[in-house]
């Protein structure tokens, strides 16, 4: 379990992390979301004890990071934004060093290094110098490093940045599989990724918590009512007239026409009403051909922009 309590980091007048509190239960994956410079990396660096907090505390399995850092650090595997690898070391040599740092007993060391290399799929690279590896493989070696000693908590800072699509989908699968035995925090600015992998999402901006909930709930509660997108073979006036005849419509937003002779728009009903059937009947009765009719759920992306008031970077 990870417990973050009133965490604050100040650099002079600048406050990258401002009174952040949250709890991640065992076996959960928390997605840490925010625009660039929102304080994600700073927070992760504090959780892992790389930098100290101005105030507040972090408890890893009940161990305070600031009062008993050694105990707390034993429970954490950390993959920072830039994998902390030594270019002049060979993969196996590097992981041996990490195993020594984490005080893995000499007898279990070889087996442990084999295990993490297998998990991160770098075993066929074990004799290569890290400087000769591609970005994707370095990232995997960094991941293997975070898994040495099978720590309960695994923290990954933007783990899929710089990977190719195959590696990204493998990495997502892998993170998902970690959740069986581990508690995971991962940061990302790719919103789809977070909603696909994570049990909970924590959105921060300017170092402040904006919302923390399941991805679905975030979209539902903050996303507002869902709209209905429809495209029909008619004119704009005719369409407005037809839609206007339905009482439950709150407002209409014109959309770009998909092709000539077709008009499209999004219709937003009043709270809680489902107007799809009414729309269909109205258009059918008027003998207007409906080409498309679908509910438009807001994506996390839109929620994110709405919440932070800034463009998310994808």
């Amino acid at each position: 379990m990870i417990e973050v309590k009133n965490l604050v980091k100040k650099y002079g007048d600048f406050t990258p992390v401002d009174d952040l509190s949250f709890i991640v239960e065992d076996g959960e994956i928390l997605g840490f979301l925010g625009p660039n410079g929102a304080g994600k990396s700073t927070t992760m660096n504090m959780i892992t004890g790389y930098i100290s907090a101005t105030s507040g505390d972090v408890y890893i399995d009940g161990h305070s990071m600031f009062d008993e850092p050694e105990e707390a650090k034993k429970c954490i595997g950390y993959l920072p934004e830039i994998p902390p690898v030594y270019p002049d070391m060979r993969v196996r040599e590097y992981l041996n060093f990490v195993a020594d740092l984490r005080e893995i007993p000499a007898k279990q060391k070889a087996a442990e290094v084999d295990r993490v290399m297998g998990l991160a799929r770098v075993d066929h690279m074990q004799k290569k110098l890290i400087k000769h590896l591609s970005k994707g493989y370095r990232q995997r070696v960094g991941l293997a490093q975070a898994l040495v000693g099978n720590p309960k908590v695994i923290i990954l800072d933007e783990p899929t940045v710089g990977l190719d699509p195959m590696q990204i989908s493998w990495m997502r699968e892998f993170i998902r599989s970690l959740a069986k035995e581990h508690t995971v925090i991962l940061s990302s600015h790719i919103l789809f990724e977070v909603s696909a992998i994570c049990d909970h999402v924590l959105i921060i901006n300017h170092g402040k918590k904006i919302v923390m909930d399941t991805p679905d709930n975030v979209i539902r509660t903050i996303g507002g009512t869902e709209g209905v997108y429809l495209a029909a073979k008619t004119t704009a006036e005719r369409m407005n007239e037809l839609i206007g005849s339905i009482a439950e419509v709150a407002h209409v937003r014109a959309e770009a026409a998909p092709s000539d002779g077709v008009v499209a728009c999004s219709v937003f009903p009043t709270e809680g009403a489902d107007i799809r059937e009414k729309l269909f009947r109205t258009f059918a009765d008027a003998n207007v051909v409906l080409l498309e009719l679908r509910t438009e759920s807001k994506t996390l992306e839109e929620v994110f922009i709405a919440l932070t008031g800034e463009e998310g970077t994808c």
Binding site: G49, K73, Q145
Partner: protein, 287 residues
């Protein structure tokens, strides 16, 4: 601690720096032993070793420049400082690796007096007290190099700074003769020093009260003592330079004198700078 120690030692010999350091040091010692002991037929190894001390200027930065700066630059310090090993143990592990490399050279040099003894009478006590002093002087310089490397991300900056600091400790003796020794100038220089120290404290804490407080207290003590007994400051600057002159303590050994105080002095420098290194790293993680 052992993990970091082993990694640094291996690192020194997988890159060329370890070999370069040993080759350079042993070649220099060999050259001077050849000149003084074999050619000029001195029995004591002291002169040869004494001549090598000034080359620490180049030797030490070679070994220490990357030891901490490179970790910061490559961001591998994120691995070290998030591992369950304390900063103190990491720094000590690194320092001991540096000392071990120097020790390899010292072991080889330790054989020389025995070789010389085959051709004449060698005072072993003088020889080994010299070799020990040389080793400790090297350890003190390595500690200074380690500290400088903790201050920057750039190897080059670390190397140049270490070079300048060691140069200053070598020249301190020569500077002694050049600076005026009257009390007025001493007080003036000290006043400037107090101001600089208060300035550094202000930059670190961004607190005007600390700055003002340090200035007021510093100047009160400084000028209070001055008006009470101005002779206190006679030759004060010379004395201060004497404190930092690492090399002047080495000279006694050359004449066959055994000076425990010098050993203690070198060891104190080692402890002070290893301690400062740990503090510098901890400080960086705070700010």
């Amino acid at each position: 601690m052992l993990a970091v120690y082993k990694k640094e030692l291996r690192g020194a010999f997988t890159s060329m720096f370890g070999y370069l350091f040993l080759t350079f040091l042993l070649a220099l010692v060999g050259f001077y032993v050849y000149t003084f002991n074999l050619k000029l037929e001195y029995a004591s190894i002291a002169y040869a070793i004494n001549s090598v001390t000034m080359f620490f200027l180049l030797l030490v930065p070679m070994l220490t420049m990357r030891i901490l700066s490179e970790e910061k630059k490559q961001k591998t310090d994120q691995l070290l400082f998030t591992s369950p090993v304390s900063v103190t143990r990491i720094v000590i592990g690194k320092y001991l690796a540096l000392v071990s490399i120097l020790l390899i050279a010292m072991l080889i040099i330790s054989v020389y007096p025995h070789i010389l003894a085959r051709y004449g009478t060698v005072n072993m006590k003088v020889a080994y007290s010299n070799i020990a002093a040389f080793f400790l002087l090297g350890c003190a310089y390595l500690a200074i190099g380690l500290f400088v490397s903790a201050l920057t991300e750039s190897q080059i900056v670390a190397a140049i700074l270490t070079f300048i600091v060691i140069l200053f400790t070598l020249l301190a003796d020569a500077l002694k003769g050049m600076i005026p020794s009257d009390h007025a100038i001493s007080v003036l220089v000290l006043a400037v020093l107090v101001f600089i120290l208060a300035g550094i404290a202000f930059l670190m804490m961004k607190n005007w009260f600390v700055f003002g407080g340090l200035l007021v207290v510093g100047y009160a003590v400084l000028f209070g003592l001055y008006f009470w007994k101005e002779t206190l400051y006679d030759g004060f600057l010379t004395k201060m330079l004497g404190w930092i002159s690492l090399i002047s303590r080495f000279d006694k050994f050359k004449y066959g004198l055994f000076d425990v105080a010098a050993y203690v002095y070198y060891l104190s420098i080692v402890f002070l700078f290893v301690f400062l290194t740990v503090q510098a790293i901890k400080k960086r993680r705070w700010s």
